[in-house]
C-alpha cells in the first residue's frame, strides 16, 4: 500500500518552499523597481543595474572577489583531494589523528575565530594583508570542505580497478590519472564548486584578512547594508543569486546525465 500525499503534507511543503524562496524572490523583483524607496513599487526599470555597472568600487570589488575565488578554490581542490586520499588510503602514519582533526575542526570553527587567528598569524610573520592573504585564508577552510566531499566518494571506490591498472603495467600516477580520477571526478568538481561559492560568499574571514586595497564584494555589500536596503544592492544580489542558481542547476543536470550514461554503458557492457 502506497499512501498518496495528504493535503497536510502538500501544504507544509508549499509553505516550507515559500518560506525559503519568497524573501529572495521579493528581493529580485524589487531590484527592477523604478523608485529608490526599495519597498514601494513604482514601475519597472533596469536603472539600478546600469548604476551598478557604472560604480567603479563595486566593479573593483567584484574583480578582486573573482580572482580570489578562482585561485583559492583551485588550490583548495588540489590540497583537499590530496587530503581526502590521505584520510581514506593512508591508514597509518605519524600524527594521523592530528591530521584528521585539522581537517574536521575548521568545519565547525566559528568564522570569527578562523579569521582572527589567521590575521594574527599574518601580522606575526609580517605578511601585508591583501589578495594573497585572503587566498591563503580561503584555501585553508575550503580545502577541508573539499576533502570531506571527495573522501565520501573515495570510500565507496572499488580499489580493485586501480590494482588491475597497476597489474596491466600502469605507473601509480597513470593509474590515478586514467582510472581513479575519472571516477572521482564528479566529487572533485562539486568540491571545486563548493570551494568557489564559499569563497565568493565569505564576509567574516575576508574582513579579517583583507587589506585596504583588496576589498571583496561581500565586504562592500556588508558596509552598504549597514545603511539599510538600497536598490543597487538588490540588483547586485539578483545577479549573484542568478549566477549561483544557474551554476548549481547546470552542474546537477550534467552529473545526472553522466550517471545515466554510465549506467547505460554498464548495462550494454554486461549484455
Amino acid at each position: 500500500m502506497k499512501r498518496s500525499m495528504s493535503v497536510f503534507n502538500m501544504t507544509t511543503l508549499t509553505l516550507g518552499l515559500a518560506f525559503l524562496y519568497l524573501p529572495m524572490l521579493l528581493l529580485m523583483v524589487y531590484s527592477f523597481n523604478a523608485s529608490r524607496l526599495v519597498t514601494v513599487w513604482a514601475g519597472f526599470s533596469t536603472q539600478w543595474y546600469g548604476e551598478l555597472l557604472r560604480n567603479q568600487q563595486f566593479l573593483d570589488a567584484a574583480w578582486v572577489t573573482l580572482r580570489v575565488a578562482v585561485v583559492s578554490s583551485t588550490l583548495a581542490t588540489v590540497l583537499g583531494t590530496m587530503a581526502a586520499w590521505v584520510l581514506v588510503r593512508e591508514r597509518r602514519f605519524l600524527g594521523r589523528t592530528l591530521f584528521s582533526g585539522m581537517i574536521y575542526a575548521p568545519l565547525v570553527m566559528p568564522e570569527v575565530i578562523t579569521g582572527l587567528s589567521l590575521l594574527l598569524l599574518f601580522i606575526a610573520i609580517g605578511l601585508d594583508r591583501g589578495i594573497l592573504t585572503i587566498i591563503l585564508a580561503h584555501t585553508t577552510f575550503a580545502m577541508c570542505y573539499v576533502s570531506v566531499v571527495v573522501s565520501s566518494r573515495l570510500v565507496t571506490f572499488d580499489r580493485s580497478l586501480e590494482e588491475a591498472a597497476l597489474d596491466l603495467g600502469c605507473s601509480p600516477m597513470q593509474a590515478f590519472g586514467h582510472v581513479t580520477l575519472p571516477i572521482i571526478a564528479p566529487a572533485v568538481v562539486s568540491g571545486w564548486l563548493l570551494a568557489f561559492t564559499l569563497s565568493l560568499d565569505d564576509l567574516v574571514i575576508a574582513s579579517f584578512t583583507s587589506g585596504p586595497s583588496s576589498t571583496t564584494l561581500p565586504i562592500k555589500i556588508f558596509s552598504s547594508m549597514r545603511l539599510g536596503v538600497s536598490p543597487e544592492i538588490n540588483a547586485l544580489s539578483t545577479i549573484l543569486i542568478s549566477i549561483v542558481a544557474v551554476g548549481v542547476v547546470v552542474a546537477a543536470l550534467v552529473s545526472k546525465r553522466q550517471i545515466a550514461r554510465r549506467e547505460t554503458e554498464e548495462r550494454e557492457g554486461l549484455t
Partner: protein
C-alpha cells in the same frame, strides 16, 4: 616510505599546520598576553635574538589576566549566555519548522524527491549575507510584512521586528533550515512503511502511530540536525549584526567589535578561546551521536 607518498601526506599536512594549527596557537598565546600601546598591540612579543633569557622572559610575561577580566566585566558572560540562549531557542524553532517539511518530503512520490532535495539545498549555495539581507526589506517598519498586515487590517501600527531578537531568530531559522531538514529527511526516508501499517493494524490511530513509531525512528536525524544548527549559530556574526541591532548580544559580534572597534587583541583572543571551549562540548556530543549511528 616512498617519496610520492611522502609528498601526498606532507603537502596538506604542512599547509594545515601552518595555516590552522599555528594561528590557533598564536591566538592562545596572545590571549595570555597584555595589551600594549605598540605595533603589534600586545606584549610580550617573542624575541629569539635574546636567546634563552628572552624565552624565559616571554613565558614570564604570560598570565590569565584577560580571562579574569572576562569574568569581571559582565558584558562577556552576559553575551556568552545570551548567545547560548539565542542559539538554543533558534535551534528549537528550526526543528519546529523543519520537521514537517522533512516529513512531507519523505512522503512525497519517489520521483519527486531528488527535485525536492535540490530545492531545499539550492538556497544554501547562494550567499548567506544576501539571504539575510533579504529579510531587512521584509521586516523593517515600512517593509513588506508590515505593508501586508496594515493593508489586511490585522494591525493598525507597524510592528517593529527588525533590530530585535525576533529578527535574529527568523534569520537563523531561515539560514540554517536546510541543515535541519536534510538529516531528518535522511532518517525518515530509510523508514520502513510497513511498521506504520503494523501499528495501525494493532489499533493505533495515525497520530499515536506517528509519536510511537515515526518520531522515535527519526531521532538520530533530529539530534544531528539540532547540532548542525546549534553549533554554527553560537558563533554567528552576520545575522545578529545585520538583523539584531545594537541590543542583541552575541559573542561573535562582541569578538568582532573587541577586535575592530576597541582594537583590544588580547581580550578578543581570550573571548575566542572561551568560545571554543564552550563549543567543544556540543561538538564532542555530536561526534558521539554520529559514531553511534554510523
Amino acid at each position: 616510505m616512498n617519496p610520492r607518498r611522502l609528498v601526498l601526506i606532507a603537502a596538506p599536512y604542512a599547509w594545515l599546520l601552518a595555516l590552522f594549527m599555528v594561528p590557533f596557537l598564536i591566538v592562545l598565546k596572545i590571549s595570555l598576553s597584555d595589551t600594549a600601546v605598540a605595533i603589534p598591540p600586545y606584549a610580550p612579543t617573542f624575541d629569539l635574538s635574546a636567546g634563552w633569557a628572552g624565552i624565559r622572559e616571554f613565558f614570564g610575561g604570560l598570565d590569565f589576566e584577560n580571562f579574569i577580566w572576562l569574568t569581571e566585566d559582565d558584558l562577556y558572560w552576559k553575551s556568552y549566555l545570551s548567545s547560548m540562549k539565542i542559539a538554543a531557542v533558534a535551534t528549537f524553532l528550526t526543528l519546529l519548522a523543519g520537521y514537517p517539511v522533512a516529513y512531507a518530503m519523505s512522503r512525497a512520490k519517489p520521483e519527486w524527491r531528488p527535485t525536492l532535495m535540490m530545492l531545499i539545498i539550492l538556497p544554501f549555495w547562494s550567499s548567506a549575507l544576501i539571504r539575510v539581507y533579504a529579510w531587512i526589506g521584509i521586516l523593517q517598519s515600512e517593509g513588506y510584512l508590515n505593508q501586508l498586515l496594515l493593508w489586511s487590517g490585522v494591525i493598525d501600527t507597524p510592528l517593529s521586528i527588525l533590530n530585535t531578537q525576533v529578527a535574529v531568530y527568523i534569520g537563523i531559522v531561515y539560514t540554517y533550515l536546510p541543515f535541519m531538514i536534510l538529516p531528518i529527511y535522511a532518517s525518515l526516508e530509510k523508514m520502513d512503511e510497513s511498521l506504520l501499517e503494523a501499528a495501525e493494524d494493532l489499533g493505533c490511530t495515525r497520530i499515536t502511530a506517528f509519536w510511537r513509531v515515526t518520531f522515535p525512528l527519526s531521532k538520530p536525524g533530529i539530534i544531528a540536525g539540532c547540532f548542525l544548527v546549534f553549533i554554527p549559530s553560537l558563533g554567528e556574526f552576520v545575522i545578529p549584526s545585520i538583523l539584531g541591532g545594537s541590543q542583541t548580544l552575541m559573542i561573535g559580534k562582541v569578538l568582532w567589535e573587541e577586535f575592530f572597534s576597541n582594537r583590544d587583541w588580547p581580550v578578543a583572543s581570550a573571548v575566542a578561546v572561551v568560545l571554543l571551549l564552550i563549543l567543544v562540548i556540543p561538538i564532542v556530543l555530536f561526534q558521539r551521536n554520529e559514531e553511534r549511528n554510523a
